[in-house]
């Protein structure tokens, strides 16, 4: 599946150095617990950001706030010039510009793969069925699933479903893609096929915010790594720096949970 994947897809804009997503002093609470504590962040066009942090620290919540699936209690989130607000009228138009892929795929089980992909472009963007179908088939072919277009989600493996979910989001021509632990529910041998698709998207210059626990992948794909801890982004650095020389104790501890010390031989020495 390597090679020139997913190129010449409309909706991308490789002009870098222009802020696409801005978060200013964003605060998010669930009842009493503070999940996002005064977070400010800018994502430039064409940037690939990886967000890491221990389980339950609020990574999914942050993505959900960006897509207005959760209201925020303070601050402002903007995509380009437009403010993202769960209560605003223009919400569906701004959501079209943000593609989101969830951990559990969330394909629509009663529709074929192709219908899953066509639904939103047809009903939300009112584009012609023939045009979207053509595009969908090209994209499916590039992720190796052309012959599955007529299948139902239940007939696909987890990795295949996740690739369909990515294509479904791409067909809306989003300006920003959000990935929330998209390989966390997959069997190990399927992780690669999904990550390869995301790598190809990165190579093509898409703007993406990725939550993942695959550290090798994070290192390969990220322009910047953010580390979220206790509601704050306490590290914001290029991957080399983050993985080699984390500044904070918390990040060091976090990274340590991904490495194993050898235990072979130690037992014998002890005796």
């Amino acid at each position: 599946m390597a090679g020139p994947l997913l190129q010449d897809v409309p909706g991308q804009d490789i002009a870098c150095g222009q802020a696409l997503l801005t978060m200013e002093h964003v605060t998010k609470r669930f009842e009493e617990s503070l999940i996002l504590d005064d977070i400010s962040l800018t994502i430039q066009k064409g940037e690939v950001i990886v967000l890491v942090g221990s389980s339950g620290c609020g990574k999914s919540t942050m993505l959900r706030c960006i897509n207005a699936l959760e209201p925020i209690q303070g601050g402002i989130i903007r995509l380009g010039e437009e403010q993202i607000d769960p209560k605003s009228r223009g919400l569906t138009s701004i959501r079209q510009k943000i593609g989101m892929v969830f951990q559990s795929y969330e394909l629509f089980p009663h529709m074929t793969v192709l219908d899953n992909i066509l639904l939103a472009p047809m009903k939300v963007q009112k584009r012609k069925k023939a045009d979207i179908t053509e595009e969908a088939v090209i994209l499916l072919e590039r992720v190796g699933l052309k012959e599955k277009a007529g299948c139902f989600p239940r007939q696909l493996s987890g990795g295949q479903k996740q690739r369909v979910a990515i294509v479904r989001a791409l067909c809306m021509h989003p300006e920003l893609m959000l990935f929330d632990e998209v390989t966390a529910a997959l069997d190990p041998e399927m992780v690669r096929e999904v990550l390869d698709v995301i790598l190809a998207l990165a190579a093509q210059g898409r703007t993406m915010l990725i939550v993942t626990h695959e550290m090798q992948f994070a290192r390969a794909v990220a322009d910047r790594v953010l580390f979220l801890d206790k509601g704050k982004i306490i590290e914001n650095a290029p991957p080399e720096e983050f993985f080699e020389n984390p500044k904070t104790e918390r990040a060091k501890q976090f990274l340590n949970t991904f490495s194993f010390e050898t235990v072979k031989g130690k037992d014998k020495q002890g005796k």
Binding site: N67, L69, T92, S93, R95, Q96, I98, G99, M100, F102, S104, E106, L107, F108, P109, H110, L119, A120, K123, V124, Q125, R154, R168, A169, M172
Partner: protein, 224 residues
């Protein structure tokens, strides 16, 4: 071959009377079904709303109807209310009222169950794609709910048809009542008729409900 007394069926208009009895039973159940399905869908949808008052009222209704044996409900409506309110209610009308009350309660519970079984994530992934609330219901929630609902509601319909046999208790002449009358009238001539007649009743019920079950199985296969 034992004597099943089947020749009794050929006497006079006995077979025709049985069929008319079946129609009487079917009429009561089908009218009740026609009332129960839309009302049940309405109440079931209301039950998934957040209003605690509506929820509580509907819950109480559902529980009461469920706890009471249908026979008690029939007696209550037919004998109880005619006495208490002094109105004139035919056995058929009383039966339709009772079966509609019961069918609506059962249906609303099925609808509620099917609606809440659609995971929240399905709504969210529709929202994330930019679909409006109405579009999410129309293209995602309602089709999935219907697929879950159709086999269940068909099962309810066959249960309603079968349970109409109770209405003979309030004097409605339906198939079972006709069968009893025929057996009674031929007691001396064909003492064995009971087995044969009830067998025919069984077959008639079977052929009324069987196509519905087949349809349910077909839909279930098609829409997994």
């Amino acid at each position: 071959m034992p004597d099943l007394g089947l020749e009794v069926l050929l006497k006079g208009q006995n077979m025709e009377r049985l069929l008319i009895g079946l129609l009487a039973a079917l009429k009561i159940s089908l009218v009740s079904v026609a009332v129960s399905l839309p009302l049940g869908i309405l109440l079931g949808t209301l039950m998934t709303w957040k209003n605690p008052f509506i929820k509580a009222v509907l819950r109480v209704y559902l529980e009461i109807i469920r706890i009471m044996p249908q026979m008690v409900l029939l007696f209550l409506v037919f004998f109880g209310t005619t006495r208490a309110f002094g109105w004139d209610l035919s056995g058929e009308s009383a039966s339709v009222i009772v079966f509609s009350l019961w069918g609506t309660a059962e249906m609303s519970d099925l609808v509620r169950g099917a609606l809440i079984s659609i995971p929240l994530h399905q709504y969210e992934s529709g929202e994330a794609l930019g679909l409006s609330k109405v579009q999410i219901y129309r293209y995602i929630v309602v089709p999935q709910t219907l697929r879950r609902l159709i086999p269940l509601s068909i099962n309810l319909i066959t249960r309603m048809i079968k349970t109409t046999s109770l209405v003979l208790m309030i004097g409605v002449v339906e198939i079972l009542k006709v069968a009893q009358q025929i057996i009674e009238a031929n007691r001396t001539a064909s003492p064995n008729a009971a087995f044969g007649i009830y067998l025919v009743v069984f077959l008639l019920y079977f052929f009324a409900c069987w196509p519905i079950s087949v349809a349910a199985r077909y839909l279930e296969k098609r829409w997994r």
